[in-house]
Each structure stands twice: as structure tokens, then as C-alpha cells.
């Protein structure tokens, strides 16, 4: 039941500013995922909350108390490191018991607490082993156990499953989610993997070059990206973004991604939403591959395009469509387009289109 507030955090490494005026409020029991490329400041932010890194300006409040000047031991938070950081000379039991023994908890209580957490994490039969004899997944379970055992005010996780292989990563992801639902503590989780972020988070915090880009639920950041960075960072396959020109020939409105081909038809409200941004070349349209509809026969509102490349992904295909000189990636059912080089017809679902100001990168907030 801990609220964490970051207020105006600034941090420099020498001349480089790694965190730029960060403001964020994390609600009690919330699972926050900080997402961004490496070097975007997400890990530094996490370490600053933990107390492993100092900040140059701003306040970090845990339950309303400013803690930026306290040592990590006085902040009562737990952390899971990417490298696990298990103590190699201790058994699993001793590793999990370490935070309890360090604060001089009684022997019987330590024993009870460790066995309880081992049961929850299903590692009871590993308690006598040393970390070197564990698999990556089990090491991670132990690291999580060590963090959870003393019921900290908040859990910080720094790419905790980044070092595991793909299958194990999926397993541990589910496990972490299960644990959070069960134990329910305020959690901040850092990752560069957007799939991990989407599947775990109550809210995702997207950072880029030290600047907070957007905070919102996974659904929100996916369907209403606030700027081009978020639009292209979240979602796989990546959103199509191309410079767009809005044509208004009196009756119909269309958006062209290439001057040589007819534009995709859009409803007339678009003009009102764009509010003058339609003129000039400073407009970019973003559309996720599932928003590009493909038809094999000519239909009303569909534009003829050429299939350039097909990536079969099993449950669906990603098809690269050549629209004049521009490329659009579309998502179709598996085997929908038989071969590259084929001519098909495509349309853009206006409800899924996003419009950005190319200069500022900001979304224009157009919802049709």
C-alpha cells in the first residue's frame, strides 16, 4: 500500500542529462512498467528510486515522505537485478534469508518466512542448493523471493527476465504477473521489451532520451500514442508512418501517401479534426498493419497496390504493399495473398489512422 511520487527529477552524468524533468505518480499496488530503448534513462530512474543513484534535482516521495537523501537501506524497497545478484557463497535458503537476518530477525521467524515464500515461488526443494547449481529461471525465482520475503514497501525490477531465453521469459512473465496479483505490492518494472510491458503493466511509462513520452494503460499507449516515438516503439509489427497529403476535391476527402497514386478515402470530418494542418507537407499518417485492409478484388474505396514481400508468421502474414513509391505493411490472415508480385487492393480503416505533426512529432489527436 505504497504510493511513490517522482517530482521534477533531473539527473546529469557529467555533461549528459539522463533524466529530464520527470514527473510521475505511482498509485498503491500499481504495476508500472518503464519502457524505452537502452540509454533512455529508465534504469537510472529505477536506481534513483532505489537509492543506488543520486539525483541532482527534484523529490522522490515514498508514502508522502521525501527519500532522495536517504540511503537505500532506509527506503525499505526491494529490487530484483537483471544479473540476479544472488550471493554465490550462500545456499538458496541463506540468500532468501539474507534481508531478514541483516535486520536481526529471530531464527524461527526467518525460517517461517523463507519457507512460506519458497512455497509461493515453488522452490522449496531447491533451498539447500547454491545459486551456481540453478537454472536461469530458478535463479530469477530466488532473486524475486529474496526481494519479496521482507514485504517491502515497493518492488523494483530491472529487466528481471532479460537474461533468460524466450520460452522461459514467457513462463516467468506469467509467474511475475501471478505473484503481483497474489502479493499485491507497488511494483516498478523496467524493460525494453514492449511485449513484456504490454502483458504485465497496469500502466506503461514510455521514456526516450531522458524524457517521459507517455503514461497510460497498455491499451491507451497502443491505440492512442501521443507522439511518433511512442507510435513506432509500441506494437509489433511496427506502425506504418509515412508523410501524407490530404486531398479535398469538393465531394470526397482522401489521404495520399504518394503523389502518383490515388489517395485512400476518408470521411469528411477529417478536415475539421485536422483543423488547418491539412495544408503543407508537415503531416504524417500512422496506421498499424491491422488497420490496412486488403482485398483481392477491386472494391469501392480500395486502391490498387502491388505486393512486394510476404512474411508468413504462422497465425498471420505480414504483407508489404507498394503504394506508388511508399510502402505499407498490412496484416492479413495466413496465406491470404498467395505470392509476392501479385496486384491486390488496399484500404485504410479511418478509425485506426493516426495523424502526427511531422515537425513536433506530436499526435494531432484525430479520432474518426
Amino acid at each position: 500500500m505504497t504510493e511513490i511520487v517522482l517530482r521534477g527529477i533531473q539527473k546529469w552524468f557529467g555533461p549528459v542529462q539522463v533524466i529530464k524533468d520527470l514527473n510521475l505518480t505511482i498509485a498503491p499496488n500499481e504495476f508500472i512498467v518503464m519502457l524505452g530503448q537502452s540509454g533512455c534513462g529508465k534504469t537510472t530512474t529505477l536506481r534513483a528510486i532505489a537509492g543506488l543513484e543520486t539525483i541532482d534535482e527534484g523529490d522522490i516521495l515514498i508514502d508522502g515522505k521525501p527519500v532522495q537523501h536517504l540511503k537505500c537501506s532506509d527506503r525499505d524497497i526491494a529490487m530484483v537485478f537483471q544479473s540476479f545478484s544472488l550471493y554465490p557463497h550462500m545456499t538458496v535458503f541463506e540468500n532468501i534469508a539474507f534481508p531478514l537476518r541483516a535486520t536481526r530477525m529471530g531464527k524461527a521467524d526467518v525460517d517461517k518466512a523463507v519457507r512460506e515464500i519458497a512455497r509461493v515461488l515453488r522452490i522449496t526443494d531447491l533451498l539447500d542448493r547454491r545459486p551456481s547449481a540453478l537454472s536461469g529461471g530458478d535463479m530469477q525465482r530466488v532473486a524475486i523471493g529474496r526481494a519479496l520475503v521482507r514485504q517491502p514497501k515497493a518492488m523494483l525490477m530491472d529487466e528481471p527476465i532479460g537474461a533468460l531465453d524466450a520460452k522461459l521469459r514467457e513462463e516467468m512473465r506469467a509467474e511475475i504477473k501471478r505473484l503481483h496479483l497474489k502479493q499485491g505490492s507497488t511494483t516498478i518494472y523496467v524493460t525494453h521489451d514492449q511485449v513484456e510491458a504490454m502483458s504485465l503493466a497496469d500502466r506503461i511509462v514510455i521514456m526516450h532520451e531522458g524524457v517521459l513520452q507517455q503514461v497510460g494503460s497498455p491499451e491507451e499507449v497502443y491505440s492512442r500514442p501521443q507522439n511518433l516515438f511512442v507510435a513506432q516503439f509500441v506494437g509489433s509489427p511496427v506502425m506504418n508512418v509515412s508523410p501524407a497529403a490530404v486531398r479535398d476535391d469538393g465531394g470526397a476527402v482522401s489521404v495520399a501517401v504518394d503523389a502518383t497514386v490515388p489517395g485512400f478515402p476518408f470521411p469528411r470530418e477529417l478536415l475539421g479534426h485536422l483543423n488547418g494542418h491539412a495544408s503543407g507537407g508537415a503531416l504524417a499518417m500512422g496506421i498499424r498493419p491491422e488497420g490496412v485492409l486488403v482485398s483481392r478484388e477491386a472494391r469501392d474505396g480500395y486502391v490498387p497496390v502491388e505486393v512486394h514481400l510476404i512474411e508468413p508468421l504462422g497465425s498471420y502474414d505480414i504483407v508489404d504493399l507498394k503504394v506508388g513509391e511508399a510502402m505499407l505493411r498490412a496484416r492479413t490472415s495466413a496465406g491470404f495473398v498467395p505470392a509476392a508480385g501479385e496486384r491486390v487492393h488496399a484500404r485504410i480503416d479511418p478509425a485506426q489512422a493516426h495523424f502526427f505533426d511531422t515537425a513536433s512529432g506530436q499526435s494531432l489527436g484525430v479520432r474518426l
Binding site: 537501506s73 544479473s83 539474507f98 541483516a102 551456481s132 529474496r146
Partner: protein, 301 residues
């Protein structure tokens, strides 16, 4: 086995034109070393084992007799020899403990970001580079009761460091500590810098205090390499001769190797001294083995 893994000689090389085979080249390099080792190490070692069962005296031409285990029996029943061993044990304990405390302590101080760290480390290593005899000679001057700088600096007046029988052994140990703490420091420093930083971060997050972190994280992780330093220093201290011999001639500082020297080259009891040397050898091996056993246990994890 060596010949099997050896690569063949390039037929165009000069050695090949001179007609040297791989085997010949190998022998050229290895045989001198082996000969040296046999003549100066292995032969005397075995020959002295033979002497240890005789009453041979190198100072006379009198014929020697085979006396079996008599020498060993005499030595092990001699209370004076046991007294020498007791002195040696005291010396080893004081000296090695001192070196570990000072060496490890200085290593802890140096194991952080400080200016001129490299220079300081190098300067601290200097005592180790000196010759034992030289160290002995100038510490004798430092300890001198009338003009020695130690008494002057500590304001001890005419305190007798080396001629006071109760203090002399500690004075020798102190010199040994001064000389060899840098060795322990060097190995400890290597061990300390090998402890991953993230373990300290994890311990800080786990709310461990500085003492708890030291005893539960730092010390156990440095233990194996510290153990190696202790093995080396114990062996060396056990065999100490030059420092003690040069600094003082008190009976209370007669460590076992001085007794051995006197027995062999002043009293010329060659057979008897060979037996004593073997007793020492067995003891050093036994002590070292205890450490090695412990080291292996530590290394298991």
C-alpha cells in the same frame, strides 16, 4: 605425451636445414633445466635423507656409522628442540596474523576510487622487493637503542628492542610484518576487486549494515585468495632464517631454522641436522595441507 601434441617443424626453417628434429629442439631446452634440478635439488634432497640415518660429520674424515632412526628419536625427545619449535610457532602466529590484519586492512582502504591509487600501491609494495638481509641490517639500525629512529620517534628513551629477550622475537616479527604485509595486501586487493559491485548493491537494498556486509559478503568472497596468501606466508615464516639471524642472537629468537643452521655448520652434526631438516619438511607439508584442505572446501562453492 608431449611428442604427440607437438607440431612438426617447418621444413624451410633454419633449424630444419641444420637437421634438428623437434625432439632435438625440445631436449635442447629442457635437458639443462632437468640436469640443474637433479644436481642441485633432487640429489641433495635424497642424499640428505640418507645422511639423516647416519652419524656422519662433514668436518672430520672419521668413518660414519648407520644409526637407523636414532637421530629422529634424539631430536624428537630433545626439549630444547621442542622449545625451538615453540618459538617458531609463536613467531609464525604473530607474524602471519599481523601481516593479514595490516595487509587486508590496507587493501580495504585502497579498494576505492582515490587519486594516485596506482602510485600509492606501487610505493607500498617496495618493502617486499628488498632483500631480506638488507631489511635485517637497516631495521637493526632503526631499532638501535641509542641512535635508532624508532625509539626517537616513539619517545621510548633507550628501550632495548633486540637485546631484551622478551621483546626481541616480537621485534623480528614486526620487521617481517613491515616487509610482507604488502604481499597480503596485493593478493587481497585482487580478491576485493573481483567481488562484483552488484552484490554490494544487492546487500545495500537488502538493508545490510557495513559490518554485516563485510562479514557476510566481502570476507567469504575474498577468503580463497586470502587463504593462498596465508599459506605462502605461513610457509615462509616457518622457514625464517635471515631476518632473525641478522637482527638478534637471543636464545628466545632461536627459531628452528637457526637451530638447524647451528647444528649443521657450527656443531657439524651433519647427520643429525639432516634429520631435523626432514622433520621440518614434514611439518611444513602437514600445515600447508590443512590450509589446502580448507581452501578446497572454500572453493567448492
Amino acid at each position: 605425451m608431449t611428442t604427440l601434441t607437438m607440431t612438426t617443424l617447418d621444413p624451410r626453417s633454419r633449424a630444419a636445414r641444420r637437421g634438428m628434429s623437434d625432439l632435438a629442439i625440445r631436449n635442447l631446452f629442457i635437458i639443462p633445466t632437468i640436469v640443474f634440478l637433479i644436481v642441485f635439488n633432487i640429489f641433495p634432497l635424497l642424499y640428505s635423507l640418507g645422511y639423516s640415518f647416519t652419524d656422519f660429520r662433514a668436518s672430520t674424515n672419521a668413518p660414519w656409522n648407520f644409526v637407523g632412526l636414532e637421530n629422529y628419536r634424539t631430536l624428537l625427545n630433545d626439549p630444547f628442540i621442542w622449545n625451538n619449535f615453540a618459538i617458531t610457532a609463536k613467531y609464525v602466529i604473530v607474524s602471519v596474523t599481523g601481516q593479514v590484519l595490516v595487509g587486508f586492512g590496507v587493501a580495504m582502504l585502497l579498494n576505492r576510487e582515490i587519486p594516485f591509487k596506482g602510485l600509492i600501491t606501487t610505493l607500498l609494495l617496495l618493502p617486499m622487493m628488498l632483500s631480506m638481509a638488507v631489511v635485517g641490517l637497516f631495521w637493526k639500525l632503526l631499532y638501535d637503542p641509542s641512535f635508532g629512529i624508532i625509539n626517537y620517534a616513539l619517545g621510548l628513551g633507550r628501550f632495548e628492542w633486540l637485546s631484551n629477550p622478551d621483546v626481541a622475537l616480537y621485534a623480528v616479527a614486526l620487521t617481517d610484518i613491515w616487509m610482507w604485509s604488502p604481499f597480503v595486501m596485493l593478493l587481497s586487493l585482487a580478491g576485493l576487486s573481483a567481488v562484483p559491485k552488484h552484490l554490494y548493491e544487492a546487500a545495500a537494498i537488502d538493508r545490510a549494515g557495513p559490518l554485516y556486509t563485510f562479514f557476510r559478503i566481502t570476507l567469504p568472497l575474498v577468503a580463497p585468495i586470502l587463504m593462498i596468501a596465508i599459506i605462502f606466508r605461513t610457509m615462509e615464516a616457518f622457514k625464517t632464517f635471515d631476518l632473525a639471524y641478522i637482527l638478534t642472537s637471543q636464545p628466545t629468537t632461536e627459531v628452528i631454522s637457526i637451530r638447524l643452521y647451528k647444528m649443521a655448520f657450527q656443531e657439524w652434526q651433519t647427520g643429525m641436522s639432516c634429520a631435523l631438516a626432514y622433520i621440518m619438511l614434514v611439518m611444513v607439508i602437514a600445515i600447508t595441507n590443512i590450509y589446502v584442505k580448507y581452501l578446497n572446501k572454500v572453493k567448492e562453492r
